[in-house]
Subunit: 149 residues, 6 copies
C-alpha cells in the first residue's frame, strides 16, 4: 500500500528547515505532497507561482515529491490527494500547542493522522516570517534558504 | 526496505494510550518493537516478566509487533534491532520539551530520527504513573488498560 | 448574598465549549452574565444581534443567565452588573498565560477575582476561530455549536 | 444547597499563598475543607499533627473552614465530605499543565469539577518546597507563612 | 573597555516595567541605548517624537542613557552604536520562547549576545499593549507609567 | 566598581555548555565565581574535589574566574563573595519558569539580581544529567565536556 503524506504551509518562502523535513519524510513515505495553501485575503511576499516553481525545482530529481497549491481546509486537500498523513515540523513548545490543537481538529473532522518531525536543532531558529523580515530590510538570506544546484 | 521503529518506555503498566500508539505506528512501519527499559536501581510495580507477557499477549495476532527488554541507552537498543526510528507519544507541552531534548541527544549520538505521535485526545490524561497511583489506593483501573480478548 | 459572575468573550460564534462553561458556572453562581464584547474596529462573522439572539435562545429556560453586550473594559462591565467574579475557560498552557496576565491586570484595576474552569477534555480542540475557518471554507460545523431544541 | 469545596495538598507547610486561596474560596463556597494528604512512604518536615494544628488555629474564627487529613485518592476524599468542587491554585504554566491533567483524571473518575484560583501575583514565588529549603538552611521564613494573631 | 547595551522595542508607551530594566541595566553597562524601532506600516498610539521626548526626559539626569530611533534590523542598530549586548526583559514562558528565537537569529546574523532581565514580579502584568487598551477606553494609566519629577 | 557574578550549580559534571556561559560572562563581569553547591543528602557522580579540580584547571589561565564550593542558600553565597549578580543559563521554556521562580525568591530574600544567558543553540540539548546517564551506560561523553589543553 502506498503511504502518502502531505506537508502543508504557506512556505513564503520555503526554508532550509522545510527542506530537511521533506527529505526526512521521503525516507518514511512513498509519496510526499508539498501543499502550498493560498488565501485570497492574505498578502504573500512571494507569488504562488514563484513558490511552486522554487519548490518544484528543488525536488526535480525526487520523483516521490509533488508540489501542489490548495485553497480548502487541510483535511480536504489530504483526501483529494489520497494522503493518510499530515506531517508537521515543530520548533518549540508554543508551536507544539498549536499543532496539537490542529491535529485534534483534523482528526475530529476526518480521522486523518498528524505526525510531528522535530526541526533540526541547528535550524530551529529559522522561520519563513524571520526570512521575510530580513528581506524587508534588505539583508542577505541565503543561509536560510535551500541551495539549488 | 523494511521500516522499523522502536517504541520505548518502562510501560509500568502499558496503558490504553500506549496501545493506540502501537496500533497507529503499525500502519506506518513494517515492524514495531516495543522496548521495555529496565534499570536495576528503579522499582517497578509490575515485574519485567509481567510486562513482557501482557504486552506480548495483547499483540499476539500482530506479527509485526515485537516485545523486548533492554538495559542500555535507547539509540543502542535501536541499532541492535536495526531500527531507523524512535517513536514517542506526547500529551502536553511539557512532554514535548522533554521529547525535543531527548530527540536532539539521540540524533547527536547516532543520527537516528525521532517521530512524534499525538496522544489521542480522549486518552490524553492517562499515564502509567496515574494508573500506579490508583492501584496503590485500591481503585479500579480497567478503563485505562488495554482490553485483552 | 447573590453571587454573580460574568463570562465574557466575543463568542463569534458561541461554541459547545462555551455552553458547558455557562452550564457549569450556573451550579456555582446565582447569576451568570454572558458578556459579548464588541469593538467597532474589529470585524465579526456573526453580527452582535445574531450572537445576542442565539445565546439568549439557548438559555431561554435558564432564568439565572443574562446576555448582554458591552464596549468597555471587562472590569467596568463587571462593576456595572454587580459581578464579583470573572469566569474564564482555559484549553492549554498558552491560554493559561494569557489569562493569568489578564487576571492580574483586572485584579490590579478593580480587585475583582478571576476564576478558571477547564475546557471539557473532549471539547478542548474547539474554538470560535476554528469554527469561523471551517465556515469560511463551507464546511459543516454543527458538531461544534450548541444544539438548540 | 450547600456548596462545598475541598482544597487539598500536603501543606508542608501551609504558606501565606495557601491562606489567601482559602480566604478567597470562602467568599464563593459555603464550606471549605482543607484536606491534608498523607502518605506513609513520604517524609514530611512538619508532622501531620502540627499541620492540622497550625491550619486549624489559623481559621479558628472561620466556622466555614474544616481541616481534615486523608489517605485516599482526592475524589474519594471529596465524596466522603460531600464536596462538589476541588479548588486548586496555580502559579505558572507548568503548574497549569499538571492541574489540567489531574482535573481531567478526577472528572473521569467521579465527574467532580476542579476550579482554579490564580496565586496572588505578589505571592506567586512562594511554595512549600521553597520554604522547606530555607528552613533547612536555617533561614527566617516568617514572610512566607500566615501570621497567627 | 566600554560596555554598551541596546534595549529595543516600540515602547508605545514606555512603561514603568521598561524603566526598571533600564535602571537595572545601568548598574551593569557603561552605556544603555534605548532604541525605539519604527516601521512605516505600523500604527502607533504615541508618535515617535513623543516617545523620544518622554523617554529622554525620564533619563535626562542619567548621562549613560541615550535614546535613539531606528528603522533597520536590531543587530544593525547594535553595530552602528558599537553595542555588544542586546538586553531584553521577559515576563512569561511565552515571552521567553519568542526571545530565545530572536536571540538565536541575532547571534547567527552577527554574533551579538542577548541577555535577559526578569520583569520585576510586581510589574509582570504590565505591558504597552495593555496600557494602550486602557487608554482606548478612557481609563487612567498613571500606575503603569514612569513618574516624571 | 568591580562587578562580580556567581554562576552556581552542582556541575556534576561541568559541561561544554557551562563553559560557554563562564566565557561569555567574563566579557561582562570583572569576576566570575563558579559556585559548586553541595548537599550531604545528595549523591554525586563526581566528588566535590574532582569537580573543583576540573573546573579550576579549565580556567587556570583566567585570573578573573574563581571556583568555590558552598553549602548554604545561593544568596548567602553571593553575599559572602561580594557578588551583585547571579547568572544562569536557560535551555527551554521549562527551565525558564524554574529560573523565574528562583530569581523572584532570591530578589525577595536579598535584592540580588539574576541575569539569564541563553544556552548556545548547538549545545541546548546538553545537560549534566544527560552526561551522567551516558556515563552510567559506558558511553563516550567527550563531545559534551570541555576540552582541557
Amino acid at each position: 500500500m502506498t503511504k502518502t503524506a502531505i506537508f502543508t504551509g504557506s512556505f513564503d518562502p520555503f526554508t532550509i528547515g522545510h527542506q530537511t523535513v521533506v527529505e526526512r519524510a521521503l525516507l518514511l513515505f512513498d509519496k510526499v505532497i508539498v501543499g502550498i495553501g493560498f488565501n485570497m485575503n492574505k498578502k504573500y511576499l512571494f507569488s504562488t507561482e514563484e513558490r511552486v516553481k522554487n519548490i518544484s525545482q528543488l525536488f526535480e530529481n525526487q520523483p516521490k515529491v509533488f508540489v501542489k497549491t490548495y485553497n480548502c481546509i487541510t483535511v480536504d486537500f489530504a483526501k483529494e490527494n489520497g494522503a493518510d498523513y499530515i506531517i508537521r515540523s515543530v520548533r518549540s513548545a508554543q508551536d507544539f500547542e498549536y499543532e496539537q490543537n490542529m491535529a485534534n481538529i483534523n482528526k475530529h473532522l476526518s480521522g486523518i493522522e498528524t505526525i510531528l518531525f522535530f526541526a533540526e536543532q541547528k535550524f530551529a531558529h529559522i522561520s519563513s516570517s524571520m526570512v521575510r523580515e530580513l528581506i524587508a530590510f534588505g539583508k542577505e538570506v541565503d543561509d536560510f534558504l535551500p541551495k539549488i544546484n
